[in-house]
Subunit: 426 residues, 2 copies
Amino acid sequence: MIKIGLLGLGTVGTGVYSILERHSENLKSKIGTGLQIEKILVRDIEKQRDIDIDGTLLTEKVEDVLENPEIDLVVELIGGEEPAYQYILQALKNGKSVVTANKLLIAKYGPELMKMAAEKGVSIYFEASVAGGIPIIRPLRESFAANKIERIFGILNGTTNYILTRMTKEGQELDIALKEAQRLGYAESDPSSDISGADAAYKIAILSSIAYETVIDIEDVHIEGIENIEIEDIEIARELGYVIKLLAISKFTSKGVDIRVHPAFIPVNHPLASVHDAYNAIYLHGDSVGDVMLYGQGAGRFPTASAVVADIIQAGKEIYHGSPDINGNIYKNNHGIMDISQVENSFYLRLQVKDKPGVLAKIAEVLGRNQVSLASVIQKHRQNPVVPIVLVTHQVKEEYLQKSIAEFKNIEEIVAVKNIIRVEEL
Amino acid sequence: MIKIGLLGLGTVGTGVYSILERHSENLKSKIGTGLQIEKILVRDIEKQRDIDIDGTLLTEKVEDVLENPEIDLVVELIGGEEPAYQYILQALKNGKSVVTANKLLIAKYGPELMKMAAEKGVSIYFEASVAGGIPIIRPLRESFAANKIERIFGILNGTTNYILTRMTKEGQELDIALKEAQRLGYAESDPSSDISGADAAYKIAILSSIAYETVIDIEDVHIEGIENIEIEDIEIARELGYVIKLLAISKFTSKGVDIRVHPAFIPVNHPLASVHDAYNAIYLHGDSVGDVMLYGQGAGRFPTASAVVADIIQAGKEIYHGSPDINGNIYKNNHGIMDISQVENSFYLRLQVKDKPGVLAKIAEVLGRNQVSLASVIQKHRQNPVVPIVLVTHQVKEEYLQKSIAEFKNIEEIVAVKNIIRVEEL
């Protein structure tokens, strides 16, 4: 019998609890022994819950889990940085294996936590920390173990993908689509971690660490959110054969890991372009396997709980059979992160300019002098004193593009640089 | 050190050999010990090969592998039924674990092989038998272990998907597209197992066995190939908002497993509709995880070898750490297979009829009497004595549809039933 201590009984926690109940016989036959929830840490024992639960399991004292010698496995579903970090660290110190869905902790403290686990001869599992129910951590560590992973593209945040889908399909403005996402439970009341790209950055950092067996300093990941995306950008993207997605990108290069999160134009016929609504997907390239895409629900009670329970089963097997997680240390190297200024991309620029003769020539002169060459120009004549100009550049180092943008200030006819979006041909 | 005997050095065998060479340090660190190829069974030692290989490894005598006490792990890449079956059985009997890419053997003899492995305390691994480089066997057994899998839809044959893609995108006739597939190495010189759907049937049988933990008698799987698909069907599908794919379908029902392979109309906006060329994909639904799709290259030297080597790593770890494959018996049940006559579907029918008044009324009368109701009718008037009529039915039990088709023989105006294709809304 494997005894489990659960930290947290929120959305995912109740999902885990009910899967363990519903599938208990099946899980027992898969592990070779039964699973039993011994204690559940909650904030308020008296709170009304939407599942039937034996009240004696609940506790408000974390020691009842962490210091309980009966408990083999601690499942952390509180989320956030503190106190979750201290709880996990203490569980490992006390010789308990840990399953967690906490992307922030793994992205920020993965090396410390894994080192502690190794010292104590236990394991830490975190399949649910990235892309909910989609199997990706285990495939990266096992199914693609015969590969050098060269690049990963992810749609890793369901909230922003839902918002961009509504903007694209229905022409809704961002703030309307966000309210809709909140109403449907796809977005938190404070959606800033989603909208800003931070949530996706934790996830691509975790995937990169596993894929390249490297430390990734989350502080060095370039992050842009979807705040500035307007319907006009989406419409122009469509005209040019692209859709706009919040893309998490990671490429292994000789100059370090090119890792970043930002909105991107992607070709409309690419499989990632068909990832709609709150779905997530990871599209990766390995030297043997070629291109692979894994697609599914990246969040939600049961998809996330499905991944947590898969980890519980794995942990249970390893505890029962006495063989610890044998995937080894994923933080062997420190390949470093490429500075965004050194990354080459093609860029979409949308400017507002005064409709005067010669303005395009002035813009072209600045770009040309900074080694930025243009792939296309869209200039729509409207009966307005101020008109939009859209430029798409060829591949160019980001620093040259930024230098040009800085120089645009000297062109009096440029009223505003409305948006700059990278174009990923994938 | 884990010592490996390789059976076969064809396309996939050379791929496996070169991955093991190229990634040897990396694999060693993942397993905890090195891998060494001890012997390779080939048909002709003298044959010229496109890889550099130590000639002393090669043998034409299978005993050098199967009876070699040094060898821990046998990797079978010969394919086909015999002698591969005898070889694998003997390897297991001799206490060696086995990795195989042989879908036919697993689909036909899975229960016997797994029983023998269990008796001898060894394991048999077959990730590469379904969908090449796409991880699906291990995810089904592990990542989705907390789920009741309810249905699986697969595009599991790259050859037919390539042909249908060419027909759809370029309007090529089937035989032209097949020749092109052969030229590009996507199709064998004898493509009958692909075209007929048999290859996909082996694969969906394997996936169903794992998903539902049941014996599947491959003889009972309903199989139709793409032989009869014409450009006209593809064009009408497009007009109606569908694309035609060779679909492998498996649904768990209270009346048994509804498992079949046949061409199907699928909605153009479904993720499976965007699986083009020789790519494969598996789209499944689990009660916790919801919908998941796994997409990638289903064949080819390196994608398949990637899956074989992933299995070798797993087997290597389990041999080295002394823990056998602990996934347990996947053939616990015998849920039986639903007879196709009892399956409900919506159908597309394309008929050739004499352009006379009243013909549609006669057809409608036969259908109505047999409980088949129509969702749509397309009748294109051309200046010909014989014209096409396209009918799409509502959901109806297959036996009623077939009874109607049989009765169409009594309608003198029906010149031919050109095609009957099931419509899957997915």
